[in-house]
C-alpha cells in the first residue's frame, strides 16, 4: 500500500519526529484513551482501521502512548469490523488502573520507543 493511502493517528512525539517528513501523521497531545476515541470518530466517518488498536502488551493507561494506522480514504459507510475492534479496545481501557503519570522522564522515552517499534512493525507490512 502506498504511503499516501494511510495515515497515522498518534500522541507519541517520537513517532511524529520519525515520520513527519515521510508520512501523513496526525498528532494530538491527548491521552491513550482519547486517541482511541479520536480513531473511533474517524471510523464513524468511514475510515478503516489498518492496525490493531490494542497493539502491544503494555496495558492501556500504563503506557500513555498509542499510534494507530487508518486508511486515508473513506468508505460510504462505517466498517463494521473496525468499529467492533475500536469499541472493544475502548471498553478494555476500563479494566486498568490509571498509572501513566507515575513514571520518571526516562520511562516515558521507553514507552515512546515501544509504541514506535509496534507501529514500525505494522508499517513494514503496510508499505509492502
Amino acid at each position: 500500500m502506498a504511503q499516501n493511502n494511510f495515515e497515522i493517528i498518534t500522541n507519541n512525539p517520537l513517532v511524529l519526529g520519525k515520520l513527519r517528513e515521510t508520512h501523513y501523521v496526525v498528532y494530538h497531545d491527548i491521552s491513550y484513551e482519547e486517541i482511541l476515541k479520536e480513531v473511533r470518530d474517524r471510523i464513524h466517518e468511514g475510515h478503516r482501521l489498518l492496525s490493531h488498536p490494542l497493539s502491544g502488551s503494555v496495558k492501556p493507561k500504563e503506557t500513555p502512548y498509542k499510534s494507530i494506522i487508518i486508511t486515508t480514504g473513506k468508505g460510504m459507510e462505517p466498517d463494521i469490523e473496525s468499529l467492533e475492534l475500536i469499541e472493544n479496545a475502548i471498553e478494555a481501557c476500563g479494566k486498568f488502573a490509571f498509572k501513566a503519570d507515575l513514571y520518571g522522564a526516562g520511562v516515558y522515552k521507553d514507552f515512546q520507543l515501544i509504541d514506535w517499534t509496534l507501529l514500525k512493525s505494522a508499517l513494514e507490512s503496510a508499505e509492502i
Partner: protein, 426 residues
Amino acid sequence: MKLEMGYIHIKDIRFSEESRIQDGILYVSEKAVRETALEDEKLKSVSFDIARPGASVRITPVKDVIEPRVKVEGRGGIFPGIISKTDTVGEGKTYALKGMAVVTAGKIVGFQEGVIDMTGPGAEYTPFSKTLNLVMVCGAQEGIEPHEYEKAVRLAGFRVAVYIGELARTLTPDETTVYETYGLKEGIEKYPELPRVAYVQMLQSQGLLHDTYVYGVDAKRIVPTILSPTEIMDGAIVSGNCVSACDKNPTYVHLNNPVVHDLFEQHGKTLNFVCQIITNENVYLADKQRSSDWTAKLCRMLDLDGVIVSQEGFGNPDTDLIMNCKKIEAEGIKTVIITDEYAGRDGKSQSLADADTAADAVITGGNANQVVILPKLDKVIGTLDYITKIAGASEQTLHEDGSLEVELQVITGATNETGFNKLSAR
C-alpha cells in the same frame, strides 16, 4: 520424526571452581559462565546467583527462563539458527536438565515486569518457584540502545544454558521418553480409527520486547507453517518477549510446551497427533487476516478433525485467537482454545477484547487482574526499583511493611496461555 528425550534430575546448584554435574548436583564455575555471558561486548557486567525453591527470594525484573539442554544424537544442536547453526532439529537424542532453569534478569526498559517469588503466595502462581534457578543479572554498556541490549541479554541466556547443557552430554539420563510423529500417509495407516489432531500455537510478534524467533527468524516475518512437535524440544522456538509477564511464553515454556506434551500423552491412544502449526500475532490487521486464513487452510489441507489453539499475550491477540477459532471451526474442525482473562480487579469486566459464538470450548488460565499481596522477602535478586512501575502495580503497590500489592499480571508465567498451570477461573 522420532526424538528420544533423556531427563537428568538436578537436585541442587552450587558454585565451584570447575563446572560439572555429579550425583544430580550441578557445580557451576562462576568464572566460566561469566565469560560465556560476556562474550558479547554490549554487556558490561553480569552477576550470578542461585535461588532455591522455598527460599525467601524474589527475582525481578525477569526477562527469560531457559532450561539447559544438549543434543547428543541427530541433526543440529540446541537453539538452531541462534546458537547452533541452522539445521532441522527434532530427531535423534536430546538430554534436558530437569528441576532447574537459567533465569535472565536486567532492566531493559523502565517499566519492565516479571516477578518470580521462591516462597509465599507469589510462589503459588509462578511455575518457576519450583525450579532451582541460576539467575544472571545483566548490565549493559553505556549508551547502547534498548533493542541491542534486549538481544544481548536474550543471547547471553541461551549461551549460558547451552554451556550448562553441555555438561550433561556424557551422563546417563535418569528417565527417557520417546516422542514420535508420522508422515501424513503413514499416520493414517497406523491409526486409521483415531481423530487427527494438531496444535496451533500463536506466537507473539509485534516489536521490541514483543517478539518470538523460530530457527532465528523473527516470527513477524513467517507465514503459518508446520513443525514436527519434537522440534520445539530442541529449541526451535525461543522467546524475545517479556512485557505482560503473566501470559508470555518464556523459552522454558517453548521447550516444555505443555500442549505438545499432553497431546503426545494421548498420541496413538485416543488421537493421532499429526503436527504443530505455528502462526503469529502481528499488529497489522491484514497480517492477522492472512495468518488466520492460512492457519485454517493448513488445518483443512491436513484433513484434521480437531485442533487446540494457544494464545500469547494480552489485547490484540484476542482478535487473532477468535479469527483462528472462527475460521478453523468453519472448516468443520473441532476447536478448543486456551487463553487468559482480563476481567478487571473485581472480575466483572468483559474478559477478552474479542468474542465469537464459534469459540464454545475455552480453557482459561485465570484472571490476570486479580490482586495478590506479596510479602516482603529477605533477598531480592535484580532490583525492586521498577516494581511500582510494572504492569498491574500501582502507586499503593509498596506497603509500609515492605509487602507489595500487585495484579497477577506481573508474575512470570502466572496465567500462561499454553495451559502450563492449574490456575483457572469461572
